[in-house]
Symmetry: C2
Subunit: 196 residues, 2 copies
Amino acid sequence: MPRVSQDHLAARRRQILDGARACFARHGYEGATVRRLEEATGLSRGAIFHHFRDKESLFLALAEDDAARMADVVAAQGLVQVMRDLLANGSAHPADWLGTRLEVSRRLRTDPEFRARWAERSERLTVATRNRLARQREAGNLRDDIDIEVLTAFLELALEGLVSHVAMGLPADDLEPVLDLVEETVRRHRARDEPR
Amino acid sequence: MPRVSQDHLAARRRQILDGARACFARHGYEGATVRRLEEATGLSRGAIFHHFRDKESLFLALAEDDAARMADVVAAQGLVQVMRDLLANGSAHPADWLGTRLEVSRRLRTDPEFRARWAERSERLTVATRNRLARQREAGNLRDDIDIEVLTAFLELALEGLVSHVAMGLPADDLEPVLDLVEETVRRHRARDEPR
């Protein structure tokens, strides 16, 4: 395929994803009708579903985008940094979009195929977190009395709590010290274990 | 009011709440129509809304029930026990109902009055947790390098994560050691700080 067409396809895909994200954030999963997706992307349903099989695939592509972006942050700075970014203003994951992610919880629970497709995407974040922790352990920065699987699940539980908290619009300005505590919990406690 | 009428009112209220909880769990908040609430409770809309002003009040009464039950467990055994109960089979908060709680996140975020009424109810759980931690600190069981407000918010964040996790139907059989870690994080580390 000529380069210019590839660029065009990628740009069109980006246009659809950006519009769809805003649409899902504003109207929720069920409320994001095909007509509203057309308005939000500025494209016809034909053009949208040429790039994405159906609404579910579009939604899951956005979840995959999130997972990829978070995995990059995890690789460089760890999952607690993802949480700090969520708390900070100007996050790429505003409350409305996070709320839509929560809204699909029923679907995730009751539709095994949807859950499998979702899980495939979030597995990427788990793997990135596990790898980061393994490197931190090698570097001697991680506590060594707890399994890496458990520490990964602990950090992911905190992230799930934060997503829920932010999506519900609960006050989050007092959560910085909580994230410090989460971070401290997985770190090696030099001050307690040994002289620095 | 004569005793028998009071008992009758309380029983009727209970009947409505139990039916409504099943109905919300099954159909979600939006899906729990007045007709479905009638079917689930075995009562007419007139009878239901004689006891509860509207659907929102009915839903919030259930959230209040949850908060009261959790606060009792917190007072006796702490918030981590609430989480352990959530993980255990036969919990009073099955995944379907927790999912409905997530579904109202958009409403919580966008409707200040609804959020205020919800917050009033969950404040009860926060107060119970704070009080429990204060007693644990007096008894010397709590770490004393972190503020009780921060420890309370940390435990609540873990609970929010767990609710989200269970509601999404994600595998939860590996979470016991994670809850152990959450509990250990707020405890005084005798083994590290001092000889037993």
